[in-house]
């Protein structure tokens, strides 16, 4: 059973590595996913970002420019989600110091 597991794992690894050779180059404007018009005929934003990200934001890393500038609202929402998670943990899990002292006193009495 163990050898079958490992065999399937290696097969899947090989499949993924083989598939990765078919990926378009980074920033390739002529790749199907990056064309200004998708095969179905709808407009596509990716080619605008590839062509104009450096001119607009003076940032060579396209991903950062999209994440923080073009999609600024989205990142703001993500950060708010993280803050909310922290606040919920604070509200649910943080113990008050008083309760701990009372517990210790109860333990001593017992």
């Amino acid at each position: 059973m163990r050898s079958v597991n490992i065999g399937i794992l290696i097969l899947f690894c090989a499949l993924l590595i083989y598939a990765s050779f078919g990926l378009p180059a980074r920033g390739d404007n002529q790749a199907v996913v990056n064309r200004a018009e998708s095969p179905a005929g709808s407009p596509n934003a990716a080619s605008y970002y590839i062509e104009n990200a450096y001119r607009d934001t003076h940032t060579p890393n396209m991903v950062t420019a999209i994440l923080a500038d073009y999609r600024g609202y989205d990142t703001l929402g993500e950060e708010t989600v993280i803050l909310t998670a922290g606040l919920i943990c604070f509200l649910l899990l943080r113990r008050e110091p008083k309760k701990k002292k009372e517990e210790e006193e109860e333990d001593e009495e017992e």
Binding site: T64, G72, Y73, T75, L76, P97
Partner: protein, 145 residues
């Protein structure tokens, strides 16, 4: 929680490694314009270096480095930096989060570049503080101890 036992290897290695993780975290945050990285990744690295000290040297030393009552305020401050960047742009005549109206640089592209930097700093601060705060909350230790 079990009391911290003094293990010289753990103490030495973690206190040597932690500053380098912190330096790399700052590099990831501030070099996010040129290389893979940004606020989320750098903030996570910074939090990991702080949590490493808490795990290895005990929470007393960890409290000296980063008091746990700072977690929530700093996280809120990070979000406020983000909001403040957007509101500053709005105040100077643009739309919300339209960095090209920030009164910093001369060309529009450089203004946007600076805006991205401020936003990433805010994200990094918030992620660091919130991750450390969640760790402290899960551990259930009081900051007074």
């Amino acid at each position: 929680m079990k009391k911290n036992e003094d293990n010289p290897i753990t103490t030495l290695i973690s206190s040597i490694v932690s500053p380098f993780i912190m330096l790399f975290a700052l590099y990831v945050i501030f070099h996010g314009h040129y290389s893979p990285g940004g606020g989320f990744q750098g903030g996570t690295l910074l939090a990991s270096s702080i949590i490493l000290i808490r795990l290895a040297l005990g929470s007393e030393m960890g409290q000296l480095q980063f008091p746990s009552h700072l977690g929530t305020p700093l996280g809120s401050a990070g979000v406020l930096i983000y909001f403040g960047t957007g509101l500053t742009a709005m105040f100077f005549g643009g739309r919300f989060l339209d960095y090209s109206f920030l009164p910093i640089a001369h060309t529009q592209a450089m203004q946007r570049s600076w805006g991205i930097l401020f936003v990433e700093i805010g994200v990094g601060l918030a992620v660091t503080a919130i991750l450390v705060a969640i760790y402290d909350d899960l551990l259930g230790e009081d900051s007074d101890d």
